[in-house]
Amino acid sequence: VTNQDQARVLDALGDASRRAVLELVRTRERPVVEIARRLPISRPAVSQHLRILKEAGLVRDRRVGNRRLYGVDARGLAVLRSYLERYWDTALAAFARTADQEKGGRS
């Protein structure tokens, strides 16, 4: 997982419409037309949001007959994990700096 992957997920989730799209495809796979019908956004806008979500690894698609269905992609989980790992790394590093100062003088 690279910084760029993380930035993509953050950007993708930073938009309320995209979170709404993600919410819709969570329960089951859906085609673009159905997502557009359930949200106050146009079909081209839905397609654009899906493209960004897909690039971030949050949504995947597959072709079934002549339809393309969109669903949640578990790869996004790996990216979230790396955020949380870095989150705790930063906190623990700050703790260690304070704890080691405590000991005094040594480096």
Binding site: N3, Q6, A7, V9, L10, L13, G14, R19, L22, E23, R26, L58, V72, D73, A74, G76, L77, L80, R81, Y83, L84, E85, R86, Y87, W88, D89, T90, A91, L92, A93, A94, F95, A96, R97, T98, A99, D100, E102, K103, R106
Partner: protein
């Protein structure tokens, strides 16, 4: 139906003894916790200029970790569910305003080479359901600006 989700495990070794490390981690959390990136104020009130005054760690089972804000309010992060100084403590961790079940954070302090190995395990992701969306809503959703600024800071350092 619920899948096991591997806990997040991180650790650090410090030069002081376990009792001192435990005290700094808990009683003195306000001395070191990086509130500028790791706080609810940073993620929820960023635009409103609300600042973190201090972090309070109530050292007992049933105690809370609280973020005290400049506007006089407090925001909870966690509740202490196990308290065993200076060896370990366990927190029910929910540093966001959403009602989902908390995850669990356990921190242990083990003597190591004249210092202390501090190990942190963040687990219980199954409680949020195995669904990726829930995880995002609880964490990436609630902490998105915190994480974003953290990623930016980390990138600057790299």
């Amino acid at each position: 139906m619920s899948e096991h989700v591997e806990p997040i495990r991180r650790s650090v070794t410090v030069r002081c003894a376990p009792d001192r490390a435990f005290e700094i981690f808990t009683e003195r959390i306000d001395d070191w916790w990086p509130v500028e990136t790791h706080s609810r104020a940073a993620s929820e009130f960023d635009a409103e200029g609300v600042k973190v005054e201090r972090i309070e760690f109530q050292r007992r089972v049933g105690g809370q970790i609280l973020e005290h804000l400049s506007n006089g309010s407090t925001l909870p992060w966690a509740e202490v569910v196990a308290w065993d100084p200076p060896r370990r403590f366990v927190l029910a961790w929910r540093p966001h305003p959403r009602p989902q079940a908390p995850t669990e954070v356990e921190v242990t302090f083990t003597p190591a080479d004249g210092g202390t190995l501090v190990s942190l395990e963040h687990r219980g992701w199954e409680r949020l359901t195995e669904d990726v969306r829930e995880l995002y809503q609880s964490y990436a959703g609630g902490w998105v600006s915190t994480l974003g600024r953290f990623a930016a800071a980390a990138n600057e350092e790299a």
